[in-house]
Symmetry: C2
């Protein structure tokens, strides 16, 4: 049995008994009932995920998956495909948005080459990035499948392996992506797995204009017609219209669920990975925390499909895990509320007037 | 000339030249244009406030102002008035929500007795709180003014003095409140300064039911009729229908503006203080950062009056500065983006396809 199959068998839902215990304490804290709103909702979830009233959240790892996309040949992005490799170098040099934001939340940044078109050997040798490259970019989904089913399993297993490797040395995971053109496969995945039309889901990605947007819709519709992915089969969707980094992200999420740890999902691309993960293991959804609401229109639909309300809404559309990193301090807050705030009895504060 | 008058003369707007310089750099960062959305808006503002492209944000001080309210005699709150003093003891002991959340964002917590009904001498002597008590609770605004005009000046000056005392040893200020019954004066202030009716502004505060809510509307309307505050005169509004802690918060905000430093405004009560500050010095609004959108219905109207969009929306209704503390990491992120992210040229990353 492979790592993926084995993992799918081991994922169990969060534990409602621990949620109930957490609620019992949270309702007695020295504040009006549930006055910290969604921070308390999150505290309850953390207790259920980790089976603890004292969930650790300090050791954070942000995993950024990078890969290239054959579909860039169709002119779907504002940026040349070479930017994927250049940005991986930027991550390694510490000069990208995610470098700054991972530092703010105290997360360790792990960058993974899942299939970048470009020689990154020096970065691997110097320990800046991990090499799990499937190959140098997916096939052009407007013409055929992104990858084989075997490659799809391999990219999910790469994410799994890295995550499980952290085991008990990580408390919170975060997902991020880099891949010029990857809003195109992500929109295709969203269309297949939510049933909503491409026109309603598609967005401007890195900033294309109206004409290019109409072209992008056509390319995605063609990709769906050429490939006819099976919506009941997450691996088939990933293989036909996905991407290596999207599969890697799905693997990170499944790994977090197997470890019973929270995983903060970034924006549009990460949520495409989360949708794939949810089809492979519906109970993995219990461990997902939606970091933010992306500007990309389809993101709202995808989060609704997962039943998630995002923590932040800051008009972000960068990816890289930046929205997940920005949300991480809210997990610190949730754990702090659960563990550090006194109850009315403990603090000798009077309760509500009966 | 008193400290307040002197301060009002010294408050100047943020500097648009520095904002332009910040935008020039932010637009060349290795990401699609303005892809970090509101984090970049905030980075621009920070540059304009601090006159710097390298704004420090690490030394954070959260000032929590506490005071009691004579209007609690009208039965407007779910909690007995003694809870104000008990919660100040809870702050001193480290057991309240704000203690946990100030720790998450690395803020120093300063608790000020602005006029609590109860003996807190031991906490002052032990250095847990500052004593700037005007007197042990305001007058009942349903019967007469909250305080004299002289007391109004004194409570604003107390907040000013504490803030200016930090001078160059603080980078970011945050405001918080504690005072059983204080959504009642805050709603009255909001009604006077926004012109919106009490019915549209009023909310459940700590959690009152329908009947008590209708009663609260009546009490606030009575307070406005009895006192007839002059909406053009912030000090008159504070004196007639305000609170000592609300005046203290206005002082903190004016102090931050005089220091040319950002001040993160918490929820409903803090925003009432911000409205008072904005009437005393309209340019102080430039230094305000709205931390979050409170559940209290009037908060949206008050933020609109200030022209502010809140950073967070997490269903909070606690006060104490908790929403400001939760928002503070976003200031770290904004400064990090401005100072640590490379431009396309610096990182040798290709720009958009022309």
């Amino acid at each position: 049995m492979g790592l993926l199959e084995e993992t799918l068998e081991q994922i169990v839902p969060k534990d409602s008994k621990w949620e109930t215990r957490a609620v019992d304490r949270l309702e007695r804290l020295t504040m009006p009932h549930w006055a910290l709103g969604r921070v308390m909702d999150l505290a309850r979830s953390l207790a259920g995920m980790t089976r603890s009233l004292d969930p650790r959240v300090d050791r954070k790892v942000m995993i950024v998956m990078a890969g290239d996309h054959g579909v860039t040949a169709e002119g779907v992005s504002l940026y040349p495909a070479e930017v994927t490799a250049q940005m991986v170098r930027n991550f390694a040099a510490g000069g990208a948005g995610i470098n700054a934001l991972a530092k703010v939340c105290g997360a360790r940044l792990v960058v993974v080459n899942m299939g970048v078109n470009g020689d990154l050997t020096d970065l691997v040798q110097e320990g800046h990035i991990l090499d799990r490259s499937i190959r140098s970019g997916t096939g052009n989904i407007a013409q055929g499948p992104a990858m084989s089913r075997d490659e799809a399993v391999r990219c999910v297993e790469a994410g799994l392996e890295i995550t499980l490797g952290f085991g008990d040395r990580v408390d919170v995971l975060g997902t991020g992506d880099m891949g010029i053109g990857n809003t195109t496969p992500s929109t295709a995945i969203a269309a297949v797995l939510t049933g909503v039309s491409v026109e309603k889901l598609v967005g401007r990605g890195t900033g294309i204009g109206d004409e290019q947007l109409a072209h992008k819709v056509g390319v995605i519709q063609q990709a769906l017609e050429v490939n006819r992915p099976d919506s009941r089969d997450g691996l088939d969707v990933l293989a036909r219209v996905g991407g290596f980094e999207i599969g890697g992200i799905a693997g990170v999420i499944l790994g977090a669920a197997r470890l019973k740890k929270p995983v903060v999902i970034d924006g549009f691309i990460s949520t495409a990975g989360a949708l794939i993960a949810s089809r492979l293991a519906p109970q993995s959804v219990d461990y997902m925390v939606a970091g933010h609401q992306s500007v990309e229109p389809g993101h709202r639909v995808m989060l609704a499909e997962l039943g998630k309300r995002p923590l932040l809404d800051l008009d972000l559309r960068l990816g890289e895990g930046t929205g997940a990193a920005l949300a991480m301090p809210i997990l610190d807050a949730a754990a702090g509320v659960l563990t550090q705030v006194s109850t009315f009895e403990e603090a000798a504060v009077s309760g509500a007037i009966p």
